[in-house]
Every structure is written in structure tokens, then in C-alpha cells.
């Protein structure tokens, strides 16, 4: 249609303000989502059977004792009031007192969050380039030996449960070869080398889990673009293949790839529970599971909010990358 309406095409590319506007809108909608999530988290955590007062005092407590403790903990106030107080606390980075450990939730999380971030960070640094390399290699050699081997590998990676991977990793590297510790001992005093050694098996297991999905999405996105007319045109311009892949194809394939990466990586915080349990890794996911079993609502809610925020942040980053890479969305 543009053929008949060239005046519609006369607009020069608009600049940074458009991008800022678009990104601002995405960020605002992410914040709104987070607010809605906070309501859901607060409501659902209130629906869990039993409450912290009952849990703390045990079976033998009289109803009067429980009521007294409930009052002390503020559990007898109306829901909306508690929600507003709780939200205010979260915004001030003070999500309250852990009902079970009797210490500020902030301190407990401050101890665990860096561990989880470190684990996720290490995994991302290894998994993302690996997945890109695998996906690109498979797409470029589509139908060939490399593609078939990688396809088989990624499929098996998706199919094998992570506890099996973790157990096999421990068997091989800790028990047989004695190269790596089977339990992740993370402390602030440990040297970098020790930290890396003790994180190696958890990181390996998580990489195994997240890389497959990313690699397959990368392959699909690349193949969709490798068939495009501009790739043939670039070949006929004498452009070297490496440049075709990186300069021509990548900007067009990056949108779906970062989206897949964001979804895979969001798994690394909350979904690492099995790996954290097997390697006794002091991370956020196991903290949250403990909070559920002990009815420690403030802690549970904070963990849930952190996971949701991390997820929304990753999706936001993916959206922004997609906007930046696509001139149609920009202008």
C-alpha cells in the first residue's frame, strides 16, 4: 500500500524520545502488574490453612493464648489494613518481622538473596552464550550432522529431570573423580576460587536445564530469518557468512531469542528449589519453601514478591531489546 501513499513514508525516523516513551510505557505496565501481583500474593498467602500464631504456640495452646498472640502479631486486623501496612513496609524495604525466626525479614533475605543472584548470574553467564552458540550452529547447519546432534542433545536435556542430572553430576564429579564438593558451602569468608568450586555443580545442573529451551528458540528464530530474501541478497553482495549471521540476521532474530532467554532465566531464582535442596545451597527458593511449611507469611510474601519482580524485570528487558532491535516498533 505504501506504493500509492508515499507521503505516509516521508516521516523521518523519530529518535530517542519515541524509544523512551515506549520503554516508559512498558515499565509503567510492569509496575502496575507488580502491584496487582502483590494483591494476589497477599490474598493467597492469607488463604493458606493455619496461621503463624497457632504454628508458634503448638497444639497444646489454649484459644485465649492463640488470640493474644494473634493480636500481638497484628493478625486480627482487617485484611485491607494489613495489606496497606504490608505494602508500605515493602516499599520502605522493611517487609516486617519474620514470625518464626523472630528477626527482620530484610536480614534473612539479605543473607540469602546474594547467594541466589550469584547462582543465577553464574548460570546465565554460561548458559546464554552457550545456548546462542548451539542455536546458531544448529540453524546454520540446518538438516546437517551438527543440527541433528544438537537437536538430540537439547531434546534429551529437556527430557531429563534436573534431580537426575544433579545426582549424576555428584556421582561423577564428587564421588568418582573427587573434583568438586557435593555440597555447596557458601560463605562470605570463602575465597573466590572456593566459591566457584562449590557452585560448580549447581551451576552445571541449572545450565543443563535452561540451555535447551533457549537453544531451540534461537535455532527457530534464526532459521525463520535465514530463509528471508535479504539473506540471499547479502550473499549476492559478497558479504562473508559470519557478517550475514551477526549483522543481518541477528537484529531480526534477537526479539524472540531474548524473550526465550528471559523466560528461561526467570526460572533460575524461584525454580532452583530442587538444585538448592540437593546441594544444600542457601538460596531464596529453599527459604520460601521453609516459609510455607512454617506459615511464616511475611517471609513467604517477600520471597514471592522478589520472584515476581525478577520475572517482570527480565520480561521488561526482553521487551526493550525487542523494541530497540525493531525499527518498525521504534518509529
Amino acid at each position: 500500500m505504501a506504493g500509492a501513499f508515499p507521503q505516509f513514508a516521508r516521516k523521518a525516523p523519530r529518535g530517542a524520545s519515541v524509544i523512551l516513551h515506549l520503554v516508559g510505557r512498558r515499565a509503567a505496565s510492569a509496575l502496575l502488574t507488580l502491584l496487582l501481583v502483590s494483591i494476589v500474593v497477599f490474598t493467597i498467602s492469607g488463604l493458606l490453612p493455619g496461621d503463624a500464631a497457632q504454628e508458634t504456640l503448638g497444639q497444646s495452646a489454649t484459644p485465649a493464648q492463640v488470640a493474644a498472640l494473634r493480636h500481638e502479631m497484628g493478625l486480627d486486623r482487617p485484611g485491607p489494613v494489613r495489606y496497606v501496612q504490608w505494602l508500605g513496609g515493602i516499599l520502605r524495604a522493611d517487609p516486617g518481622q519474620s514470625l518464626v525466626a523472630n528477626m527482620p525479614v530484610r536480614d534473612i533475605i539479605a543473607e540469602r538473596l546474594p547467594n541466589s543472584l550469584m547462582l543465577a548470574g553464574f548460570t546465565a553467564v554460561i548458559a546464554v552464550p552457550l545456548a546462542l552458540a548451539m542455536g546458531i550452529a544448529a540453524a546454520v547447519h540446518r538438516g546437517g550432522k551438527v543440527d541433528r546432534v544438537l537437536s538430540l542433545a537439547t531434546l534429551s536435556m529437556v527430557a531429563v529431570p534436573e534431580f537426575l542430572v544433579a545426582t549424576l553430576g555428584v556421582l561423577v564429579f564428587s564421588v568418582k573423580l573427587l573434583w568438586l564438593p557435593s555440597i555447596a558451602l557458601v560463605s562470605s569468608e570463602a575465597s573466590l576460587g572456593d566459591t566457584i568450586r562449590s557452585c560448580a555443580l549447581p551451576v552445571m545442573t541449572l545450565t543443563f536445564v535452561v540451555v535447551a529451551q533457549m537453544a531451540r528458540m534461537t535455532r527457530a528464530a534464526m532459521i525463520a530469518q535465514l530463509d528471508a530474501g535479504y539473506v540471499e541478497m547479502a550473499e549476492l553482495k559478497g558479504v562473508p557468512f559470519g557478517r550475514i549471521v551477526l549483522w543481518h540476521v541477528m537484529p531480526n532474530a534477537i526479539g524472540p531469542i531474548v524473550n526465550a532467554a528471559a523466560l528461561s532465566l526467570s526460572y533460575l531464582l524461584g525454580g532452583a528449589i530442587i538444585v538448592e535442596t540437593i546441594f544444600n545451597f542457601p538460596g531464596l527458593a529453599s527459604l520460601m519453601v521453609n516459609a510455607v511449611t512454617s506459615r511464616d507469611m511475611p517471609l513467604l510474601q517477600s520471597c514471592a514478591m522478589i520472584f515476581c519482580a525478577a520475572y517482570l524485570l527480565l520480561v521488561l528487558i526482553a521487551d526493550v531489546v525487542a523494541i530497540l532491535s525493531n525499527p518498525r516498533q521504534r518509529a
Partner: protein
């Protein structure tokens, strides 16, 4: 512009000399290979233009690409020699080929929209050949690109490179792609159907730009095209191909003037529309079947009879039983939207569509099954309209069951009858859609619509994806169906010459308005709206001097922002200042000999005729 800078002394004498002999290109695995090009030989003298002509599947694009040492995935160059400027392209390795492509041999593709990377600016892509071959610095390259943009008469040559492909029109992109090819001063330019996707009015300007560019660069050119009048404008020599083999070769004058091969003669006959014979129909009383009155439609929410994005405004049309009415317009004119409104796929915002005197409900939800059955739409692209996993029989049985409740053996019998109607063997019923050729698919597409036994058949560009000869056979088929079954046909096309030979009534759409409508006889007599005249003059002629003699006929581009005034005003060479750009054009009528002819124009009828 000095594009033809000789590189080495040794190459000076042979630069641009192309010699191909015994070329063989195959597809398939080595043990079961099939030749798609067999024993093709030709030579082109430096600076000459050779046209490769033939229908799809004739191997013309494959041969053209092989001159760059390139074969599409699945195909490979299996034999023969290809020499460009004295060097054997067929013996080159990957590195040598990369050095050849984009530097000495450059390519202009059919669809610029696909050949430009949507994520990179035009400038970055146009100067890329210079940069990857290290022929110029970025700054020099950009300066050179701007000079070429100007020489190809592109608007705003200083800044056009900063845009992205989606911000430019098809005609502009096609010229920008030529700039990308010309920028390294190649000795061989390959044009692969470069204007096929363009409107005729745009095509004229692009062809002129190409012709001037070829002449100025002094390069040898290979021009792949199935449109013979275009070939007549562009080529010095012609090579006629069929099924990958040479049918005839020679100078343009010889091959087009005194064709020796029957296939060449068939191609030339089809190009002249001499192949389409239409029985003259006696002037008879028109029994209205479809009547469109003051129709407005578009996209988005409808408020007060106006959609958010208006496409069609105040369009009226009459189509009698058993008549064929042609709707002509270029891309963006709203002709496909009109088809969709009648079919109910786009809701109508204002006005009326009457079928048999009964208003058709505005959208699909309100229509009865009977109304669905009476109006059938034949889509342009049969391959996307037909479900590829079905057999022909399954596909045709579906509307039979839906509209007529015919199932089982009766349905099989009816499918056979339908196949007979569209002149395909009954055995086709068992075949898969994917196994059919383009022309056969379009026939099945037609049969699918006929299965409903419609009263009105809407054909939306049904031949534009087909080769001339195949398309003509489809047209003849539609015409005979119309005569034999009494089905009315609404024929939507961008090709004015097809519509003229085929239809009883003609309507010309421009920018969503009917600028002219007439019975065929009145249309043949004229006079015409300035836009219709531009369309008629833009259709390439077999006379090789036609392009040079066709004056620049576009005053401007685009549609006016004021929706009230004549939509064609910015482009009209005979627009009256102070009138055409201020007031809405009146609808002028001429009624004589029982013929009805209307124009939407400020010029009085006599003035239209006089120009």
C-alpha cells in the same frame, strides 16, 4: 557519476564480456538428480543487455543467478562453463565468489521489500558492498551512494538513506536496490523481474531509471522478465527459455519481429492479448443482480458511517445477471477492500449493497447461509487459500456438504463434474493440493467457489500470480463459465488491458473513489478521466521506442490530505489550480446510445476528450 572504473589493464579488453556454454543446473541428491537447466549457451558483448524470457519454471532466474556463481538451496551448477570478464565463475571457490559478488557482478531482486533487511537503514545496506570489499571508506561510500540516489531521481537523496525499508514505497525501494547494485561499478548487472511487483504507473519511472543507469554505467546486463513489452524496452538481445532449455535466441528485433519457434510465437500472442477471444455479446436488457450504492468502508471503529481508517468512499456499482464487471486500480486503491465488503469480510460503514434487490447485512454474522452461497470469493493466492494437507476431492466436497448437503457418492460425482467444468481430469480429485501447479491450483480455487453454485463470483487478482499463458487460460475459463452458467463476475485487477477485453462494465478506482465507470463499449470510445488515461498510457507497448517516448506524466505523488477534493489531484498533470485543489469534483455523466459513462472530474466531458 563515474561508475565504470577499469581495475586492471588486463581486464580492460574483456571487462563485461559474458560467455556461457553448455550450462547444466540440477536439483536433488546426486543419485536422483533432475536438470532444471540443460545445455544453455549464450554470449553477451560488453555493455549489451540480454533478456531471459519464459514462463515460471523455465530456468530464467536460475541461469541469471548462476552468472554470480550462485545456485538457490537444493540446486547446483553441475556442468558447462560460465565466464565473466574472462574469468571462469564455475571454477571459483567460496572466497573467490565472495570477491566476485557485489563487486563485479551485482544483483537486483524481484521484491525489494524482501531483499532489504528490515532492521538496517537503507544507507548501511547500500554501501555494504563497498565496505565488505574494502573499496572505499564509509564516508566516500556514503557520498557515492547519495550521488547515485540523485541520478536515479530518488526524492531527498541527501537523507533518504537514513530511512528504514518499511518507510519507503515499493518503487523507491526498487530504485534503491539498483543503487546498491550500481555502487561498486560492476561489470555485470543482473535484474531478476525487478518491476513485476510494481504498479504500471510506478513501473514506467523505475524502468526509465534502470535504463539510464545501465547506459551510464556501461555495464553488461542480464534482464530476467516474463513481461514481453517490458523486455522490448530494456533488451538488446533475447534468449527464450522453456523448461530449462533454449528455444530461441537472437537480437530483440529478430526474435520479436520474426519469431522462429512456436513457443516464442505463443508467448508473443499472449502478450498482445491476441489469445483472448471474447464472443461479442448482444446488447441486452440488464437485469440487476448486484447493486452497490454510495458505499463507504474501511478499517477500525465505525462512527457516524465513517470508519477510523476510511478506504472506500461513496462507491456505486451495478452488475447485471451473467455480466462481468471489472474493477481496476493500483495497490492502495481499495479494490480488494471492495471485494471483501461485498463478500462480508469487511463491514460496510455507509451505503448499501443489494443482492437481487435485498440489502446484504453489513457483516458476516448477519448473513444467511443462502446469502453466503450466492456470493463466492476467489482469492488471489490459491496456494494460501487452499489447505495444503487436503486432496482436491476433500476440498471440493466441503462446500458441497455445507451448502447443498451433498455427501458420499453423490458428492464424488459432483466433484467429478466440477473438475470437468474447470477442465481438469477427474483423477485430480485424489491428488494433493501441493502436487498441483500454480495454474491447476487456481482452477481448483475456482472450482471451490463454483461448488457453492454462486450467483456472483468475485475474482480478486486471480491471474496476477500466474504466467501470461496460464493466466489467459484461466480468464477464458471464467468467461466461458459466466456464459454457460450465467454467473455474474466481479473481476478485480490492476491490469487494465485484461479488464477491457473481458468485462461488460468497468470501474476505475483511485484512492478509494470511483473516478470513472462505464460500460465496455462506452469505455472503448472514451473520453477518460486523467487517471484512467495515465493508466492506459503506462501499459508497456511492444514498440521498443515506447519507453523513451512516454513523457514524465506524474506531476506529484500521494493522496491529498483534504479528503473532499479529487484524490488524484496531486498527481494530475491537467489539474486546474484553485479548483481541483479546493473543491470536491462533480460527477459528470454522458448518456447516449443507451451507454452510461460517468467521471469524477472538474473538467467538462468535452475537455476530457480533447486532451
Amino acid at each position: 557519476m563515474t561508475l565504470a572504473a577499469p581495475e586492471t589493464h588486463q581486464n580492460v579488453t574483456r571487462r563485461g564480456q559474458i560467455t556461457v556454454s553448455g550450462l547444466r543446473i540440477v536439483v536433488g541428491p546426486p543419485d536422483a538428480e533432475r536438470a532444471i537447466v540443460e545445455d544453455v549457451s549464450f554470449a553477451i558483448e560488453p555493455g549489451r543487455t540480454l533478456a531471459l524470457i519464459g514462463e515460471s519454471g523455465s530456468g530464467k532466474s536460475t541461469i541469471a543467478l548462476s552468472l554470480a556463481g550462485y545456485a538457490r538451496p537444493g540446486a547446483r551448477i553441475a556442468g558447462g562453463t560460465i565466464e565473466v570478464g574472462g574469468e571462469r565463475v564455475d571454477l571459483m571457490d567460496g572466497k573467490a565468489l565472495r570477491g566476485l559478488r557485489g563487486r563485479r557482478v551485482a544483483y537486483v531482486a524481484q521484491s525489494a521489500a524482501a531483499a532489504f533487511n528490515p532492521s538496517r537503514t537503507i544507507m548501511a545496506q547500500v554501501i555494504e558492498p563497498l565496505l565488505v570489499h574494502r573499496l572505499a571508506s564509509r564516508k566516500e561510500a556514503m557520498a557515492r551512494a547519495r550521488r547515485i540516489f540523485a541520478s536515479l531521481s530518488l526524492p531527498d537523496p541527501e537523507n533518504i538513506g537514513e530511512r528504514y525499508p518499511h518507510q519507503l514505497s515499493g518503487g523507491q525501494l526498487q530504485r534503491l536496490m539498483a543503487a546498491m547494485a550500481l555502487i561498486t561499478g560492476p561489470e555485470l548487472l543482473i535484474f531478476d523481474e525487478p518491476t513485476t511487483a510494481l504498479d504500471v504507473t510506478t513501473q514506467v519511472e523505475v524502468l526509465k531509471a534502470f535504463k539510464a543507469a545501465i547506459a551510464e554505467s556501461g555495464a553488461t546486463a542480464v534482464y530476467v522478465c516474463h513481461d514481453l513489452p517490458v523486455v522490448a524496452q530494456m533488451a538488446d538481445e533475447v534468449l527464450v527459455l522453456q523448461n530449462g532449455r533454449t528455444k530461441e535466441a537472437g537480437s530483440l528485433g529478430t526474435v520479436f519481429g520474426t519469431p522462429a519457434d512456436p513457443y516464442t510465437r505463443a508467448l508473443l500472442a499472449a502478450a498482445d492479448h491476441g489469445g483472448l477471444t471474447r464472443l461479442p455479446r448482444p446488447e441486452q436488457e440488464c437485469v440487476p443482480l448486484l447493486r452497490i450504492d454510495g458505499l463507504s468502508a474501511g478499517y477500525g471503529k465505525i462512527r457516524d458511517g465513517r470508519p477510523e481508517v476510511p478506504i472506500l468512499e461513496d462507491v456505486s456499482l451495478l452488475c447485471g445477471r451473467g455480466e462481468a464487471v471489472g474493477v481496476i486500480g493500483e495497490s492502495g486503491s481499495g479494490k480488494s477492500t471492495l471485494a471483501k465488503v461485498v463478500a462480508g469480510l469487511v463491514p460496510l460503514a455507509d451505503g448499501e449493497v443489494l443482492l437481487d434487490g435485498t440489502p446484504l447485512p453489513a457483516d458476516l454474522g448477519g448473513r444467511s447461509r443462502e446469502q453466503f452461497r450466492k456470493v463466492q470469493l476467489v482469492f488471489q493466492h490459491a496456494e494460501t487459500a487452499l489447505n495444503p494437507v487436503k486432496t482436491v476431492g476433500e476440498l471440493l466436497a466441503r462446500p458441497l456438504a455445507l451448502h447443498h448437503g451433498i455427501r458420499g457418492a453423490a458428492a464424488q460425482k459432483r466433484v467429478a463434474e466440477l473438475l470437468d467444468l474447470i477442465q481438469l481430469p477427474a483423477a485430480t480429485a485424489a491428488r494433493n493440493i501441493r502436487a498441483l501447479s500454480g495454474g491447476q491450483k487456481q482452477r481448483v480455487n475456482l472450482a471451490r467457489a463454483l461448488a457453492a453454485e454462486p450467483e456472483l463470483l468475485i475474482c480478486d487478482e486471480v491471474t496476477s500470480a500466474l504466467d501470461t499463458i496460464v493466466g489467459q487460460a484461466i480468464l477464458e475459463l471464467i468467461d466461458s463459465l459466466r456464459r454457460d452458467l450465467g454467473i455474474a463476475v466481479m473481476f478485480i485487477s490492476h491490469d487494465i488491458s485484461t479488464v477491457r477485453t473481458f468485462c461488460d462494465r468497468i470501474m476505475v478506482l483511485y484512492g478509494g473513489r470511483a473516478v470513472e465507470s462505464a460500460t465496455c463499449a462506452a469505455f472503448a470510445r472514451g473520453p477518460h478521466h486523467p487517471y484512467t488515461r495515465l493508466l492506459l498510457e503506462s501499459v508497456p507497448q511492444m514498440d521498443p521506442a515506447w519507453l523513451a517516448s512516454s513523457a514524465a506524466r506524474a506531476a506529484g505523488t500521494g493522496l491529498p490530505l483534504n479528503r473532499e477534493i479529487c484524490r488524484f489531484e496531486p498527481r494530475c498533470v491537467s489539474a486546474i489550480r484553485g479548483r481541483c485543489n479546493c473543491e470536491a469534483p462533480p460527477l459528470r455523466q454522458s448518456q447516449g446510445h443507451g451507454q452510461n459513462h460517468t467521471w469524477l472530474c472538474h473538467h467538462p466531458v468535452e475537455a476530457l476528450g480533447a486532451e
